[in-house]
Symmetry: C2
Subunit: 373 residues, 2 copies
């Protein structure tokens, strides 16, 4: 059904062609005909503290003091140094500073699956903000949610001597990080706890969210409630499933294994799982999505139905309000901020027992969410 119409004609070049190969679409390039100052000039060299010191007629240490904001510099000297620095376009080299200061940089690493996943990028946004408030910089690396990539990617971050490591664990075992902890690099696990490693972590209250959703559905008269989730071994899935079961048990409803789907790993699979549920002899009258991808798949099915089933999503999304979909909401950005706070705290207390911060989830009820059965 979707038709593609390419609005442009081609042109060529190594960089553009790479894009073209990837997208299958002609890429053009505009070369500046003539724009003000012409060709860039070759590289000069960067000024160092010594250069500034020489020009200002002081010692290197004094320049250092000025840029460190030390108070023990006379106002005149400070002015002179700053002028010299400006003239030379001096910019302190934080690599050198960090090295001298003991080999720990002012960066914090966040290692997660893939930034194109909205959940991870929202967590990253929270991390970035909280770090910025503390004068720290975020470095990001992706594992592509591949267990086999984790150790290498994490290793690269540790070589950068990051001040702490915020990790969404994906490998079956994080024991390889034990040494780092001992060396004083805080490791904070995000969204799910580590395995074989004693660490602090930040997780959502997944079970409570699922429980609240199911409780609400039951209160609206539903007795046949299904759960559409992803990989059964995934921590979040387990927790949400546990909450779902707990709510049913509390309502005196017997569990039905055929109502629990663990195969909705993406929207397409979720759609398939949903159709399978609806094709059961006794189909569910209400569905709980185990994650946001499942929501998309479920909605794809529900959109076309005359008599739509009740549905609660997990993880809020842009059009949920417009479509009147109830969801278990949470705040990924807050999870990121909490992770940073935990890291900063741990920095100064290497001996306290591990902590797990649980970030709340809550039910957002909307118009057509819990339709009566």
């Amino acid at each position: 059904m979707p038709a593609v119409d390419s609005p442009r004609t081609a042109s060529s070049d190594a960089i553009a062609s790479a894009t073209q190969a990837r997208t299958g679409i002609p890429v053009q390039e505009r070369t500046a005909d003539e724009s003000g100052p012409s060709a860039p000039s070759p590289a000069l060299s960067r000024a160092t503290v010594t250069d500034v010191a020489r020009l200002a007629g002081v010692s290197g240490k004094t320049v250092s003091r000025v840029f460190a904001g030390s108070s023990s510099v006379s106002p005149e000297t400070r002015t002179r140094v700053l002028e010299a620095a400006q003239r030379l376009r001096f910019r302190p080299n934080s690599l050198a500073r960090d090295l001298r200061r003991g080999g720990v940089s002012t960066t914090v690493a966040f290692v997660m699956g893939d930034l194109s996943n909205a959940f991870y990028s929202k967590v990253a946004a929270g991390i970035e903000r909280e770090l910025a408030e503390h004068g720290l910089t975020l470095v990001i690396a992706a594992t592509d949610d591949e267990a086999a990539h984790e150790q290498r990617v994490v290793g690269a971050m540790l070589e950068r001597r990051v001040r702490s490591l915020l990790l969404v664990p994906i490998a079956p075992d994080q024991g390889y990080l034990e040494g780092e902890r001992q060396l004083g690099t805080p490791v904070i696990c995000v969204d799910r706890p580590a395995r074989n490693l004693v660490t602090d972590s930040v997780v959502f209250d997944n079970a409570a969210g699922a429980e609240a959703a199911v409780r609400s559905l039951v209160q609206h008269g539903h007795r046949r409630v299904a759960f559409v989730g992803s990989a059964p071994t995934l921590y979040t899935h387990e927790e949400r499933l546990a909450g779902y079961r707990r709510a049913l048990a509390a309502a005196g409803i017997a569990p039905r294994p055929e109502y629990e789907r663990h195969d909705a790993t993406d929207a397409t699979e979720a759609e398939r799982a949903t159709r399978a549920l609806l094709a059961l002899p006794e189909p569910p009258t209400a569905l709980l999505a185990g994650n946001n991808k499942a929501s998309v798949g479920i909605l794809a099915v529900r959109q076309g139905m005359l008599q739509p089933f009740a549905f609660v999503g997990f993880d809020d999304f842009d059009l949920a309000a417009t479509l009147g979909v109830s969801v278990v909401a949470h705040d990924p950005g807050e999870m990121g901020r909490a992770a940073v706070r935990l890291a900063l705290w741990r920095q100064d207390d290497l001996v306290s027992p591990p902590r797990q911060v649980v970030v709340p989830t809550w039910l957002v009820q909307r118009g057509s969410g819990e339709l009566a059965p």
Copy 2:
């Protein structure tokens, strides 16, 4: 309409309370009762090349060679070094390496508005992937789309001696970066060109996308087509508007200023703008969204209508296919990758004139997009 139901009870602590203050929701914390190896032990010290060299009975330089993958090391020596390194849990310090190698790190900075914006995070995802393929690391900083923040944030990145700077410009003037270019740090502007600075850039073919969309609407019989865009001074908005006008002109349709909205800065404003358009004496029969936030606002209006208007969005979104919405699509990840390729190329050619890579946009037509008027 939305009701909030907090599934959890409280507990307290500095870190958790911060979350609580922010979310207004009680946060709990689980302290590990007893989990395997108990309290973390105090920090030891990190092994250096010298330590490894001593244990392996070689010189520091040899250790360095082994870790640099140099071929001029005998297999036996290499093994001995690697064993010693493993025993000491040695991890090369890339701060020191980068410093020694000339003060340029193996990181690339991406400075954009805000990672919680899906567009930016998708660009970031593309950047991260392309960098990873070249053994480079991504450092990210946000300007919050505040012009006043740009220079400070960029400055912090430059102090890190990033190998190049990928920037979504927001300040009215990037002239302050002229010095960096001369010093050999590639500056690549992303999504919009710089002002007062000669640099390479990557942009979308915004005008062509808008033009194709309007052309399609016109072909479906629409003569009254409106444009719902955001800030009039924004480069992308200008380009898209230009394409919209061009398509109308090509069809011999006179422009109507009242059909051009420049105030849809977010979904709510877009909704308002849409309602205003529909309330005109001669309302448009088709709408083109200028960006993804506008799409959300427009859809909110259209969802409730019996006789929906035709609508083409700008920027594809998760539920577009499900909802049958036509869109001008583009690939933000590809934009990120192109930016990295441009940066790497510029690295080795500081003298070529600036280049602008134009990444394609294309029209994706879906079921209910261009309804007849």
